[in-house]
């Protein structure tokens, strides 16, 4: 039984369609990358998976149970669900609403009413794991972009969720901060953790995912292993994930797709 099953899911923002009849299954322990151009529906899909919004048509099933607004009203379902599924937002400023880093990381365990001793120990361990113990008393406006991302991630992984939904986790980060985040995601490889990462950075896909789903205008355009998807230049060009690179050899000008990746650099 898949952990998440989406059947013909559609969603719109005030009349503007974001997802159009999307169907997808996500297995437990899977590392999945959602790739697509801006506006392809990646962030919306993550919000639906986190039950922050609900389909206008179609259905989402989580661990055999329907994910509906009504079910999320019920604490008996909602609290364990929030404990099991965590979302790291694309904009860390959205997620860092507490006065200090320590309060931020402690927020989720506090809402779930963990015993104080366990809460403090878990927060300390998470701060250590993320290498941000020295930032504990800092307010969010005194953090760099990379630090904000790490704190945002820490504020979610403190609950040790089974499912981690990451929205553009490495976007706008400098190379060192990017590599720290990728290293962390790689550490979970082989664990039972399900990791769904939305990104348009193809160069990180091989490192963070075993399966890639390409989205285009709110639908699944293709799905496959990172090698299968990244080697299909026509598919990437259609999904607006690569651009045509034009150059001249003397009087002859030609164009072809342009892609960078960690293992190869090809034109």
């Amino acid at each position: 039984m898949p952990l998440f099953e989406l059947r013909e899911v559609s969603f719109d923002y005030e009349g503007i369609a974001a997802l159009r009849g999307l169907s997808l299954s996500i297995e437990q322990g899977e590392r999945l990358a959602l790739v697509g151009a801006n506006g392809s529906g990646k962030s919306t899909l993550l919000r639906l998976l986190d039950a922050l919004c609900f389909p206008s048509s179609g259905a989402i099933v989580f661990d055999g149970q329907p994910l509906t607004a009504q079910r999320l009203q019920d604490d008996k379902f909602a609290l364990p669900f929030r404990r099991r599924v965590g979302l790291v937002f694309q904009n860390p400023d959205v997620q860092l609403f507490n006065p200090t880093v320590f309060d931020e990381v402690a927020f989720a365990p506090l809402q779930l009413k963990w015993p104080k001793e366990e809460l403090l120990a878990r927060v300390e361990a998470t701060l250590d794991l993320m290498g941000i113990s020295q930032l504990r008393e800092r307010p969010p406006y005194r953090l760099s972009g990379g630090e904000k991302k790490r704190v945002a991630l820490a504020s979610v992984i403190v609950l040790e969720p089974d499912v981690l939904l990451l929205d553009e986790p490495t976007a706008t980060l400098d190379p060192r901060s990017q590599s720290q985040i990728i290293d962390l995601i790689q550490q979970w490889k082989g664990s039972s953790k399900t990791i769904v990462t939305a990104t348009h950075q193809l160069e990180i896909v091989e490192d963070i995912a075993d399966r890639v789903v390409v989205l285009e205008e709110g639908k699944v355009l293709a799905s496959g292993t990172p090698t299968e998807v990244l080697s299909n230049h026509e598919l990437l060009l259609r999904a607006n994930l690569v651009h045509a690179h034009r150059h001249s050899h003397g009087s002859v000008t030609h164009s072809h797709p342009h892609i960078h990746s960690h293992s190869k650099h090809e034109h």
């Binding site: 986190d50 609290l79 959205v94 006065p99 506090l110 809402q111 809460l119 307010p139 969010p140 406006y141």
Partner: protein
């Protein structure tokens, strides 16, 4: 192109916020007030403010002002900064309100030019008003300078202020930095793309549009922040972590604060 009123105001606001951030540096210094539990600082300094407002004698309020200066020195607060940012400004504002009392309060005339006169009672009233405000504002400023804002909020929670109100204050303080920064960037970006001089109506139109966009952005941000809270288990009832511990030193400090306040009220009645 010169900066307009709105841009200058936004930049001024951003500077004020930066100063607020810098003031947290004082809160990290090792000083008398900083060594006390935040709740003691809050209750102690606010009780002194109450004592100032209840005291009717200049000598008592003056003594409390001396206590404020002593506390500032022992807490390693820069007196020059205090004079420039607090005392002078308060003197300016309160002075304007107090001046009429010099001439309108009936009593024994001490200076007169034939048409207007300053009375002894008028001088006392005006001096008491200015000194009271200076002293009360100094105590309040000491609390703000010597305590990170986040700790003040937690102390208020420990003193049973509704947690919804505290959460609202904390989030306002958190996001006002972000929104002021965004507003500054929007105005800068507009200026970088503006060629020539805009007329008054054009400027007003631009400003109204910018304000509208900023409002839309802040609404979108608040929606996303709510979702981010919900995603991490928020169910409408905020839980706040409070881990204050009182020591003998804190109890002693609290006792001294309350004694000083009570003595001032009794002597100044």
């Amino acid at each position: 192109m010169s900066r307009g009123f709105v841009e200058a105001t936004t930049i001024g606001f951003a500077r004020a916020l930066t100063r607020a951030m810098l003031s947290e540096e004082t809160a990290r210094k090792r000083g008398l007030l900083q060594s006390l539990d935040v709740r003691v600082r809050l209750v102690g300094l606010l009780s002194l403010v109450l004592a100032v407002t209840l005291s009717r004698k200049i000598s008592v309020v003056g003594a409390l002002f001396a206590v404020a200066i002593l506390l500032a020195v022992l807490s390693r607060v820069n007196l020059f900064m205090l004079a420039k940012r607090v005392w002078l400004i308060v003197l300016g504002f309160t002075g304007v309100i107090a001046i009429p009392a010099l001439f309108t309060t009936p009593g024994r005339i001490i200076v007169s030019n034939g048409t207007i006169a300053i009375t002894e009672q008028g001088l006392r009233t005006a001096s008491l008003l200015v000194l009271r405000v200076e002293t009360a504002v100094t105590f309040t400023t000491l609390l703000i300078l010597c305590t990170p804002w986040t700790h003040v909020l937690k102390a208020l929670r420990a003193l049973r202020l509704p947690k919804e109100a505290i959460t609202m204050l904390a989030m306002t303080y958190r996001y006002v930095f972000l929104l002021v920064d965004t507003a500054g960037q929007m105005l800068e970006s507009r200026r970088s793309r503006t060629v020539g001089v805009l007329t008054g109506p054009e400027q007003r139109q631009m400003t109204a549009r910018t304000a509208g966009v900023l409002l839309s952005k802040s609404v979108a941000l608040s929606n996303d922040v709510y979702l981010a809270m919900e995603s991490r288990g928020f169910r409408g009832d905020v839980q706040i972590l409070s881990n204050f511990r009182m020591t003998m030193w804190d109890y002693l400090g609290l006792l001294l604060f309350l004694l000083a306040a009570a003595l001032a009220v009794w002597m100044g009645r």
